[in-house]
């Protein structure tokens, strides 16, 4: 039995997501007490940003390499802090994208903001989980608001359908996760990673293998790896774009880090077994994601498959099974947050009320109509493709380095080939923007300062991390090297 007291370490450990939760509840209460006081969309936005800053500062202050809080079940080590930062960034940029966009599609800003903050709280719990039950609670706290966010556009049938599909498959995956936890608990007598890792030697092999299998299925669902990816394109297309961006980056980052920590600490002793499974999952995910993305002509469905492909790259880095691989995962998540959120922000900027402009042909002539926006999109796409000197290139480089370092040469070759294939559909968007003339009339868009700020921040991140990756990379590597 784990001894759970409450001391300074515990208070610091829960501080980041407590702050986020309090701010989320604050937004809801404001709605309750001042239902008619509609101060527009900016008040909840700045209030949420304040909460995000508070959470970021709290998680930096909570950073410790000492023993984990709550009897070793919840940690505020470097990995957790780095994950918190990526998720806060993802939430912040999604909110920025949503400020005017949610108003445009008729969603109440406060609902959107509070749900995003609740989801973020769950992501933060997942990043620090060192116990299967904490992992489970983190996944649920993250997923329940995410289901609602997918369906936040209540008048829209597509949004409702996305929510329903996401919910049913998510709940299905949850039951697999729990069954896996139950089997590991039965085999090892504990749910804490430290205890599992110590007991793996004598545990009945079949129960452990079945448990690991079920956990990988469930986490694979959340990350969206093939063959558990089929919900992703539907949900990404149906959900409002700002929500899609949060799901494609934040939810995925938390789930990937949860998987990496579980496999690299608790189940380190079964490395040979899970590494083989992850190898095949990664290859299938990269290849199918990229090949199917070629056939898409919807600019939200294409990134959906591209994000499936990126899940494959991340799983490949976990399959390396070394702290180096873990560091590459963290760094790539940060890079991925900037470039992917930037691309989604441009998709929002191209759309207007009742005209989502989501087809590839809607991008025709964007380069001459709005050169700055077009130019930013080119950089995001080139970065997603992995062209130097942008951040995406550096991220992929370090994944490949980690793979070669652990003798997984074939996996790195397949990853490089996949990057080449992905060039086809990313370049197609660029060609559409710069070499085709606009087919329809595009009236002058309204000014959207927050959206442009979001594009700008993402752009700075994408370029900066490409040119000066050292600081973030060292932080990512050190945190996984110190992982116990």
């Amino acid at each position: 039995m784990i001894d759970i007291g409450f001391g300074t370490a515990e208070a610091w450990a829960i501080a980041p997501f407590t702050i986020v939760t309090v701010f989320a509840i604050g937004i809801l209460l404001y709605e309750t007490f001042f239902p008619d006081n509609d101060r527009g969309v900016e008040l909840p936005f700045w209030f949420s940003i304040l909460g995000l800053c508070g959470a970021a500062i709290a998680s930096l202050l909570a950073w410790t390499d000492g023993p984990a809080a709550y009897g070793g079940t919840f940690s505020t080590d470097g990995v957790a802090v780095f994950t918190n930062m990526v998720c806060i960034l993802a939430a912040g940029l999604s909110l920025m994208m949503g400020v005017h966009y949610m108003d445009l599609i008729g969603v109440k800003a406060r609902e959107f903001h509070s749900l995003v903050l609740f989801t973020l709280a769950g992501m933060m719990i997942m990043g620090g989980a060192r116990d299967l039950i904490v992992l489970f609670l983190g996944i649920e706290v993250m997923s329940l608001p995410a289901y609602v966010l997918a369906g936040i556009r209540r008048q829209d049938e597509k949004s409702g359908e996305a929510a329903l599909k996401y919910f049913l498959l998510g709940a299905f995956a949850t039951s697999f996760l729990l069954y896996g936890i139950a089997l590991l608990y039965g085999a090892t007598g504990t749910t804490a990673y430290a205890g599992i890792s110590a007991a793996l030697g004598e545990a009945p092999r079949i129960a452990v293998l079945a448990g690991i299998g079920m956990l990988i299925v469930a986490l694979g669902f959340k990350v969206g790896v093939v063959p558990f990816h089929f919900w992703a394109p539907d949900v990404y297309q149906g959900a409002p774009t700002a929500v899609t961006a949060l799901m494609a980056v934040g939810v995925k980052a938390a789930a990937v880090v949860g998987t990496a920590r579980l496999l690299l600490t608790g189940l380190e002793g079964m490395h040979a077994e899970w590494s083989a499974v992850l190898w095949w999952l990664a290859v299938a995910t990269m290849t199918l994601g990229n090949v199917v993305a070629i056939a898409q002509n919807n600019v939200k469905r294409m990134p959906a498959y591209s994000s499936v492909a990126h899940a494959g790259y991340l799983f490949a880095a976990i399959a390396a099974g070394t702290p180096r691989g873990g560091g590459a995962v963290l760094f790539y998540l940060l890079v991925y947050a900037f470039m992917n959120l930037g691309a989604f922000a441009v998709v929002i900027a191209v759309g207007r009320k009742d005209e989502p402009n989501e087809l590839l042909s809607d991008f025709a002539g964007l380069g001459s109509r709005r050169p700055l926006l077009g130019g930013a999109m080119v950089l995001f796409l080139l970065s997603l493709m992995g062209i130097p000197p942008l951040a995406g290139f550096v991220g992929k480089l370090y994944i490949i380095e980690a793979l070669v370092d652990s003798q997984q040469v074939w996996l790195s070759v397949i990853l490089i080939l996949n990057s080449v294939v992905s060039g086809y559909y990313y370049l197609r968007v660029i060609i559409e923007m710069f070499m085709r003339d606009a087919t329809a009339e595009h009236p002058e868009p309204e000014a959207q300062p927050y959206l442009m700020l979001c594009v700008f921040v993402a752009l700075v991140g994408t370029v900066f991390l490409g040119l000066f990756p050292d600081l973030a990379l060292d932080a990512a590597r050190d945190s996984f090297a110190a992982l116990r």
Binding site: M1, G160, E161, L168, F172, S175, L178, Y179, G186, D234
Partner: protein, 101 residues
């Protein structure tokens, strides 16, 4: 006379299988939800059986977590089903198919 723990584990595995099958082959969204609940309860039986086998209370405590989360999940899930029903007047999963690859 004590019933061997294996009996409970096999029962739970069968229940879990029935639930999983239900999710995969039934088309009524409400029945799919019930099947998911069946799977979660199968997991609960497994936890309690293991807790009994190891003579520790951890497994029983976990069951409370599972039940609480399951309740929250159903609340959100039924709300989503209601919203979807209001939009299309159907709860048949096969007819909810605007989004297709």
């Amino acid at each position: 006379m004590d019933t061997p723990v294996e009996y409970y584990l096999v029962l739970a595995a069968i229940l879990f299988g029935i639930g999983a099958l239900g999710v995969l082959i039934r088309r009524n969204v409400i029945v799919i939800l019930m099947s998911i609940e069946l799977m979660l309860n199968a997991v609960n039986v497994t936890f309690v059986a293991f807790a009994r086998q190891q003579w520790s209370v951890d497994g029983q405590v976990i069951v409370f977590f599972v039940m609480t989360v399951a309740a929250a999940e159903v609340a959100v899930g039924l709300a989503i089903v209601l919203m979807s029903f209001a939009q299309r007047k159907t709860i048949n999963a096969d007819e909810i198919n605007l989004l297709r690859w």
